[in-house]
Amino acid sequence: MRVGVGLPSTIPGAPGHLIVGWARRAEAAGIFSSLGVLDRLAYDSFDPLLALTAAAAVTTRVQLATAILVGPQRNTALLAKEAATLDALSGGRLVLGLAVGARKDDYDAMGIEYATRGRRLVEQLATLRDTWEDGAIGPRPAREGGPPILVGGLSDAAYARVARYADGYVHGGGPPRAFARAADKARAAWNDAGRPGMPQMWAQGYFALGGESAAETGTAYLRDYYAFTGHFAERIAGELLTTPQAVAQFVRGYADAGCDELILFPTVADGDELERLASALSGLATIEIPATSATASANAAEAAARRAGQP
């Protein structure tokens, strides 16, 4: 399993230079395969695609993943253009995770009716690839067919969308056992639809490794970030990884459940958290260390060729 790290772009008060510096240092740490972002409109947070673009400018190897982007809140033509732009700018490093999201306040703030989200996502998924291939709305993504698309969600409809439109599934967080169940469902849907191979499996978790005070700050942040879920926020906060031991077991659980890439998100706007995570991860047997940038781009080219159907 590969491990990525989230940008601190949804932690209120995180300064811009922290995010850009974080991206650069994350790649330099060598252990992370991707940088992830979350999407939230009505909150003190950075725009996910712009944050990833900044990250793209200061990195050359890591994948840039939205986990997830609330697709239905965005105009599909514009999203297609933004995603193609980011993919082209980054040399084919975008991984576009999309889902309906769960925050009605964001839809209200966007002026989009919440009840239409499922329908809008389906239409968007059916359109994105065609738009990238048509070329009428440029630029051409770095990769034939555009960046890989992941779909998130826990409903049967979500798994059906993975199977019909996407390249993989992105899980929204929780204990490994919850991921395992969701992953089984995504694979079942994929296989039943007659898609070749298996869907890519992405997942995420939260960490705060700077001792008790960091744990407290992180917990408070999660409670606030997930306040809209009511009492569920307490659970999410309770799952925060606050020790290297917890990180190791979490990583192991996800690897065993067949996760391909696990993104760990910070909960404290403190640059040292990145090194703490890197050190907690170093030496874990289940982690695939990313290849150097030269082999990475060769692999990417090969994968692109495979996806385009050329042997």
Partner: protein, 763 residues
Amino acid sequence: MKITILGAGPAGLYGAILLKKANPLHEITILERNAPDATYGWGVVFSDRTLAAFQEADYKSYKAITDRFVLWDAIDVYYRDELLRCGGHIFAGLARKQLLALLQRRCAELGVSMRFNTEVADVAALDGGYDLLIAADGVNSLVRKTFADIFKPSLVPGKARYIWLGMEKVLDAFTFIFRENEHGLFQVHSYPFDGTTSTFIVECDETTWRRAGLDAASEDESITYCERLFAPELAGRRLLPNNSKWINFVTVKNATWRHGNIVLLGDAAHTAHFSIGSGTKLAMEDAIALANALDTHPDLDTALGEYEAERRPVVELFQAAAAESQSYFENVKRYTRLTPVEFTFNLLTRSRRITYDDLRLRDPRFGNIVDREFERRYWAGQGRSIFTLIAPPPMFAPLTLRGLRVANRAVFTPATTGQAVSGVPCTGDALELARLAQDGAGMVLTEPVAVATEGRITSDSACLHEDEHLRAWTRIIQAIHTQSPAKVAMPLNHAGWRGATRPRGMGLDRPLRDGAWPLVSASALPYTERSQTPRALDRAGMEGMRDVFAHSAHLADAAGVDLLILHMGHGYLLSSFLSPLTNRRDDEYGGTLEQRMRFPLEVFDAVRAAWPHEKPLAVALNVTDSVRGGFGPDDAATVARTLKEHGCDLLVALAGYVVPQTEMPYRRGFLTPLSERIRNDSGLPTLVGGYLTTADEVNTLLAGGRADLCLMLPPQETRTRSRSAPTVATDAREARATADVREESMPEAGTPAREVRRVEKKE
């Protein structure tokens, strides 16, 4: 805090005990309409896991419970006058009366005020008298009704009728009895509880109940009827009434369990069908969670929220399991084709929480019976009556279909989609099939093979209608047959309106940009908004199509295919005739089901005629389109029975894709219920997939008579790490919830026998 509890059932009493213990300053009053010793019902059942929770929550009542309960570890099943026993499940039973009495005593000891014979008719009358109102007023909760706009309760009555009786006889096992008479099928759930009597619940479907005249029967008449019906098992003992009526089980759910300073507990909040026997346990566990939450969080609102957040996932898991169990008993008539061993195995594994491996672990002797019976039926199918001394697990039993013998029940198909050029399968695909065959598959399944160039799904689909295709397939199949004992199955397909799409690497049903060919279908409707509109097949086209299928079948035989599968599912051409959603024809091939299946049957007959008599012919059929207004299980049963008469030997159970926006309850083995249904309804053997990856899943499915061949996924080598790795600390709550539902409920569950000792040690 002033706490008023409505209802002195297990939830109310146990809640009072725990709250008072946590804080003796609480002023707690229980209001109960009945007298202290008036109680309906007979026994309740607990598992050791529940008892452990009781021990931790309140040792004194735990001790009182364990001093009185009856322990047993077997399940007996009477079916078709045979008795089968399966051991290793532990249950502990206790009289409800005793349970309530001991909880009342404990309440009194702690200083809880209990007002019996106090009926509350109006919740508003209690206003102002409490800081917290706990509604433990049972399945017909008055509080829930009063605030129905807040709790938004859903009350769903089950389809079956049941009556809760007692029996003047002790039992040494949880006992199921299935008995058919001229009125229909009845089943009994019976279990011991107090050392002298047993609970005896009789259940049947509505029609049976009316036919037997039980709708008009008094309590006495009902008892007389049941005594006569179950005379052999009762052996002269009496059934006992307890103000018993024939009722429907009502499943209660609520959108929320709390409203300001009011909270629902036990049956008032949720019920779960009695066949998994968890109502009392859930009610008492609610009480534990509520008391803990109130003890931990000083703020009432947070505490009630935490209580609900803790309990809801656990309760929902139990309700899901209960729903499966309930549906099993409501439809048990469907399973009466099964032999007693199959039937019993199916019953014990009905809600999928208990598997073949679990039963083997609990009772190896029963496991051996299951294996030997499976093997015996194979030989019986060969016309030989053999008492099998030893037998492999069901997955390794052979299967015969006409002249074909498949060495084991595992079917594999390549994980990649084909890369055929002009319909000729490429070497890579051939090697992949050959590898699966050599690696142990009983049978390998090719990709769907097109009967015509325009019948391909994608430009890469393989075909079988020209000499070139025949040569390629002959080479591939000969290689498989010389290198391995595996058999080769090939689906023959015409993609219809799902044709001319791009390879599926980047999505399903995306129309080809260049080189698309004209499509045909039952009606001129496009599959997706972006798809080409097909031409509706006319009579001449249909005749041509029939001949094309027959021609391919002929070539398939020449190529050495062992099992031919005619594809009538997933929205492809033949499927588009079957489904009312896609067949809008107004000629004699559209309209009623009989007319919609006419063309697929014509094709079947032509293929059957072209295909050698000694070789089996299968049909891949949607058991449901899985969308409203589509083809459903009853339609599928009609089609399957007709196919059987026309010489079909096997069904491949499929679902969905008749229109693009279909979704199914995806999970491991999600197609199994459909396979089971169509197998029971038609009497035809089935092949089923649905993401099966383990031998345990396959054995469970086969031994329970749910399918005959299983399409498995190869293990993913890069991921073969220990699946039973320890779960992480953050996972504890969820692990507990899942473990509870797996191991705790009766009668199919219970915990392995060795756990008995653990309970006993604790006492």
